[in-house]
Amino acid sequence: MKHLDRYTRTVTLALFLVLLLLATYPMYGEPAVDLFLRLDPLVAIGTSLVSGTLLLAVIPGFIVLVSALIMGRAFCGHVCPMGTTIDLFGKAVPPATKQTAKTNAYESCKDYRHWKYLFLTALTGAAVAGVSLIYWGSPLSLVTRIYGLVLYPLGTLVTENALQIAAPRFFDLGLHQLAFLEIPVKVFATNALVVLIAGGVILASRLQPRFWCRNLCPSGALLGLCSRRPLLRRVVSDDCTRCGQCVKECPTGAIRKDPHTYVPAECIVCNRCVEICPESAVRFHAGRPLPAAEGREIDLGRRGVLAAGVVGLFSAGIVKTDLKQPSAVGSKHPLRAEDLIRPPGALPEPDFLNRCIRCGECMKACPTNTLQPVWLKAGLDGLFSPVLVPRHGACAVNCNVCGRVCPTGAIRSLDLREKNQAKIGTAWIVRQNCLVWEQDKKCLVCDEVCPYNAVAFRPISERKNPVPFVLENRCIGCGWCENKCPVGGASAIRVNIIGEIRLADGSYREKAAEFGLKLKAENHTSDRLGQGTFESTRPSITEEPPKRPEPSEEGKLPGGFIVK
């Protein structure tokens, strides 16, 4: 078949994108939207190393790693959406100098090959020292951010604008549902930085096709280590005329000047050399002996490996001695920003940062767009990790997708009953900003929107109007109050991390009960998210309304009535 890899890569990229689109609210069933992330061998090895346990969730990554013993870096050639994306965008940035058999032969373009191994060594060094930096190198984490945090929001913006332009036409055509359709436009912090990194990876293709895959990708390096002598090998028959076509076309420059030989650790088994050979002299075959030359690989050199390892350890040391490091030795009260609110179900902070691979899947899935990557607020160890920004969006009562889509369990997957007891913070009133406290105005918004009935208005002698107080044992920290507070700029009621519950395991319900919390979501959907999609703590909606107390006593009538 011609262009075998084009078919496979189209299918895998499409599957990747569909799964990413499915990472949303509502999410029906458990469609394994994080599958691709869990296939990344670097994620598997890295998160297991840094957290000191073998994580069940990332076993697919180990399977991919073991598969390299059989079929080499086929994952890179057929599955990895990063490679496909580089090729897609790389069409716009072809190599600056035309590829020839001479320039693309392995011997001519091996100058940077060892970088990926050194990169991997450095990341491993950091992981051994207990710091996860794998998000700088994981191709799946990066590509998920490119699509989820950069292209997806752009897509929502373009679609919404197109709908706006097309709406009058839709009315003319009688397509009212389309005319009234609205696509919420998503926004994300740090998106420009993702663009810079992605741009660098893609633009590097000007130097060599798939520069990233050849020279930089630490996951590719891991697979390369396992594919030094794969079972499936490239075999060239005596029909070969040494025309050099395969050497020229090889996307990773894995074929040597002598086209009979190649470097398996660099070959992504894309099958192109088989397809283009005019003599049909090339095929992949199991178990053929490798010609002697093929076993030899780049010599990393003890010095290089050592230096990379030291760089990794050093980086870990720098992270560990950063002021905001959550597990800093001897620090009883780690310095943490008061508004660094983690998603419900996030592991205790040090474990959370070790597990989180900054893929942005939770942020892509978050229906209220409240989950955002942080820049330096969480310190060096917390770069790009997810945080709630309640002023922008609040945590929806009926939603638990962030935990359900997390590939490494940095955010635990909780059912709604558990999630609605997972306290993420507590609201507090900034009295000098509050319309009631400061200006003695009549405003009840924080109370009205609170799904947990955690805001109480009480009369005090200094004010005409009753003033708001937060009942901290009822407040879960969802941030609806902060989100809807009508003052301009920063809210007069804000969520901070006081009272958050972070459990590595065990029940949030039990812990909340132990702490005497009375977290109870009312039948209230200021979040405008569907009910009844999942099991809910709220009373189910029935045709006949539940019984209420008998008519309210006089004086409690709504202000709309004039009682003489």
């Binding site: 919404e160 706006q164 709406a167 009315f171 009688g174 009212h176 549902q177 009234f180 609205e182 405003c443 918004v445 009508p486 039948n523 959907t525 979040d527 405008r528 998210l529 569907g530 009910q531 009844g532 909606i541 029935t542 045709e543 006949e544 309304p545 539940p546 209420r548 008998e550 008519p551 309210s552 009538l557 709504p558 202000g559 709309g560 009535f561 004039i562 009682v563 003489k564």
Partner: protein, 312 residues
């Protein structure tokens, strides 16, 4: 609503004249508009159990849908469908009443019938649980939509406004020929009751400021100086007597449908027919109804109006 013609004014004058006729000021010198309007009662109350038949009878009693909807007219129907609750909860208009009104519009030759609201709960759940799209589905030229996006709204001046001088209204409402309110009779924690006038808040963009910035009761009346329905069909099959607007709360079956071309009269009639928070109220005990009558937007003095109250 077409603001370019004086149809509204025409109807208003006709109504005032009709009022004069019924209160004994008949002089025989009234012109044709008054004579036309006087043919019909101010308010019709149809009682029974067949919802479609009651709705049709009530509208027919005040002249039938052809009086309001001319062939080719673009119609907007404003029901209550803001809450993800079932039909029995009384938080949303009975879907059969809405479908019946839409069907009558279609029969009268309407070219487009939009059933619109800016809902409070999840739009998908509101639409499905209210059953309004389901019931309106078979009606020709009819679509049911939630409207939320800012771009669907357009600013309109409110020259007679006391609390505010402009507001943003769904463009399709401003561009329509006929506006029909189809509220359910329900209580409201702030306004006392939520009927045709209060219900118009589902057609504007920023209703939050009604509660926060303005005097709610005056603001409702400011709004209906512009969003004045041509026809009101009030669902009194059952009312949410307390716990409104969202419920859950006490639901009382009244088994009736009210129709009127006067929004104030229709709301006043519903107030007096119902029981609210365990009490009976006169229409002028509801602030926004009283203010609307005082500002000349309609009549709240039911006893002075002609009411056709009948069973089918």
């Amino acid at each position: 609503m077409d603001f370019k013609t004086d149809r509204r004014e025409f109807l208003g004058k006709g109504l005032a004249a009709a009022g004069a006729v019924l209160t004994g000021a008949h002089s025989g010198l009234l012109g044709a508009p008054a004579a036309l309007a006087a043919k019909y009662p101010d308010i019709a109350i149809a009682r029974g159990s067949e919802i479609d038949a009651m709705t049709r009878a009530a509208v027919d009693a005040i002249g039938g849908m052809k009086r309001f909807v001319k062939p080719g007219a673009k119609v907007v129907i404003k029901p209550n469908m803001s809450f993800a609750r079932g039909v029995g909860s009384g938080s949303n208009t009975n879907p059969e009443v809405v479908a019946s009104v839409a069907q009558m519009c279609s029969e009268a030759g309407a070219s487009q019938i939009l059933v619109l609201d800016n809902v409070l709960h999840s739009p998908e759940d509101c639409l499905s649980m209210s059953k309004i799209p389901e019931m309106c589905g078979p009606v020709p030229k009819t679509s049911v939509s939630n409207v939320r996006s800012k771009r669907m709204f357009r600013e309109v001046k409110v020259p007679k406004g006391v609390e505010f001088k402009s507001m943003e209204v769904i463009s399709q409402v401003l561009d329509s020929d006929v506006l029909i309110a189809v509220p359910v009779g329900k209580s409201h924690g702030s306004a006392g009751v939520s009927l045709s006038m209060k219900g118009m808040m589902g057609l504007i963009y920023d209703r939050g400021s009604f509660h926060r910035r303005y005097n709610l009761h005056e603001a409702i009346v400011d709004m209906v100086t512009i969003l004045k329905p041509d026809l009101v069909v009030t669902d009194g099959t059952r009312i949410l007597s307390e716990g409104g607007p969202g419920g859950p709360g006490k639901v009382i079956p009244l088994n009736l449908v009210i129709a009127s071309d006067d929004m104030v009269a229709a709301d006043a009639q519903m107030v007096e027919l119902g029981t609210w928070y365990g009490k009976k109220f006169k229409a002028d005990q509801v602030r926004h109804i009283r203010i609307a009558a005082e500002r000349g937007l309609g009549r709240a003095d039911i006893s002075a109006l002609s009411v056709k109250d009948f069973s089918i």
